[in-house]
Amino acid sequence: MKRNAQLTGFASAIRISSLSDEFKHPSTIDTIPPQSKKRKAAEATVASDTLSAQRSSKRIASAAAVKEGPPTPLTTGSPMDSDDEFMSGMSSDEDMLQESDNDDGSADDFGFDEPEPDLGYSQKGAVEKQEKRKFDINYKVYHPEDIQAQQDDLIDEVNMILDIRKEDAAILLRHFRWNKERLIEDYMDRSKKVLEDAGLGPSMTGPPKLEVIPGFMCDICCEDEKGLQSFAMKCGHRYCINCYNQYLGQKIKEEGEAARIQCPADGCKRIMDAKSLDLLVGADLQTRYHELLTRTYVEDKDQMKWCPAPDCTNAIECGIKKKDLLRVVPTVACDCKHRFCFGCILADHQPAPCELVKMWLKKCADDSETANWISANTKECPRCNSTIEKNGGCNHMTCRKCKHEFCWMCMGLWSEHGTSWYNCNRFEEKSGSDARDAQAKSRVSLERYLHYYNRYANHEQSAKLDKDIYHKTEKKMIQLQSASGMSWIEVQYLNSASQALQTCRQTLKWTYAFAYYLGKVNLTAMFEDNQKDLEMAVEALSEMFEKPVQELADSKLKVEIMDKTSYCNKRRVILLADTADNLANEVWTWHPKDLFDYFKS
């Protein structure tokens, strides 16, 4: 028994996100301008209120969050009510209240502006239009040609200022890890030492060339035949061209070395420059060499990292320092659409900070917990005890045997879940008296872990199963086009929905790892409310999304899906903004309390 197999995943649909950006629902275009003007005005008042810079930036963040998508008056009634209450509760800020009122009043004409889930991250015009959100960070994506151009510019500059050969300028820059200012300063002070340290001896005249020297014997291969071509760098260590070729091949191909290939002589620190290298090896090695050089350029720069997506050749520059990582979760999005954390290179793990992610992953990988979660991977139907493996996205399970409907998370009746007292995401600590008993205590801690782990793994699994959703969505869209006569643009809402599901599940997944390490205080309750709202919205959207094509063609359902999509995105932004804010201000309480102390010290 399983969920509708068609709708298994939301994980890999990001690639078409640009489409939804360009082709919004027609009604958006007409109605948005007055709206956004109004909003801009509201933000302006907010910004001018400079009681405290921090506070105002927080407001802007929440205002931006509200702006991104309206609440969804057209969909189910009861969760929305709780949401409005929740939002006013979240911020004591009057502007915030006003904002939500505005939204409620005008939501009808605003209802179709569905943002793509990663709107704030994409490097399109959207970024300029949007106020910066609390959890957004500044970064830039560089393509291979940009990276090359950057290096060339720096090399040219040093070449002109210091009047040295370009090859040598490149070696010097690499030696100084591309810190141009320090290089020039040091070079001015003591050029001889700088050159020596970088592996460039004193004498530097004439271009490199191959020579035939009578009576020469190569110290490496001991060949001494007549007419043997040989080469020496400025250090004067002379070897034959064949040995050089082999030596450089070994270094470049086997060892992946480029920027610091030394002279083959024992103990000689002279560095091989690009021009000499081109003279000594064939085209394939040259290409590889230059590739490796570019790689070291990015690796040498603390503020640059390669995009970890397979086959992506872009690099990202971001000013986040290591010590900031407890307060910021620096998620960046490459032009290839891969979203990852600049701090640890893992896939996007907002809202959890890197250190927490590391601890959580270690804990989950730890053998001691394995046995526990293995038992958690399959469950029995609460009514007929059939063993069930979940292979689909949404948590609303219907037993194929007995038709029992229940929630995969809490195994409770599904009929109890549609209302605002859906409480399935929250772990209730056992009372203090239980804790006194050591056995009970360990059981509680295990239960606590399993509670969060189950929810974490559940979202992760959903995301994994949904890997092929992109094709399925596409197929669905084509089917829908022919079934309903809708145009291609008109069915893009399915694409937006699948993206929203995927992004939100990724966020939800990490909220559970995050919650596991949170102390139980009022802030946490607020966080859990946010989490609950997002999760409910995601499950609802997930269920709508799984409907057969015939039903999807119904325009009422379409509107509902669009509403839910934008609602999910909005809830996600609110959750992330709130968490990021508290993280930046260091107001979270951790469980245990000293969780990050070692990292700070």
């Binding site: 490496i220 291969c221 001991c222 070897y239 082999q246 030596y247 070994q250 002589a265 024992d266 000689c268």
Partner: protein
């Protein structure tokens, strides 16, 4: 087997013609890339008086890659492990194709004279060397007597 490179022939000839004092390296007749090596423990070291046997193999891409060398005689030394493998920079990252068999063997002999417990291959030996140097040296001497003087 491919013809032996000139470099290896020349090195072998020179090793026979001008042997290094305290070091002996002879290639196998059936495999000229495989050498039986013996090194005398340096004077003033705990290995003095011992003769240590090693095997040395020149891989196909020698001299672009370093020779493979291993102690056959048991030895108590912080940079040499139970299997006789040697931790020496010139055999790894600092290898240069301009180095030769004789220079490498000299480096190994020097390593016997100057153990480096800060860069250990045998952690237990290195630990003892740092905490109880006298005791470690005594053990090294004893091992030399038992294994390297027969």
């Amino acid at each position: 087997m491919a013809a032996l490179p000139k470099r290896i022939i020349k090195e072998t000839e020179r090793l026979a013609r001008e042997p290094v004092p305290g070091i002996n390296a002879v290639p196998h007749e059936d495999n000229l890339r495989y050498f039986d090596v013996s090194i005398h423990g340096p004077q003033g070291s705990p290995y003095e008086g011992g003769i240590f046997k090693l095997e040395l193999f020149l891989p196909d891409d020698y001299p672009m890659t370093p020779p493979k060398i291993r102690f056959l005689t048991k030895i108590y030394h912080p940079n040499i492990d139970k299997l006789g493998r040697i931790c020496l920079d010139v055999l790894k990252s600092n290898w240069s194709p301009a180095l030769q068999i004789r220079t490498i063997l000299l480096s190994i002999q020097a390593l016997l004279g100057a153990p480096n417990p800060d860069d250990p291959l045998a952690p237990d030996v290195a630990k003892r060397w740092k905490e109880d140097q006298e005791g470690a040296i005594a053990t090294a001497k004893e091992w030399t007597r038992t294994h390297a003087m027969t």
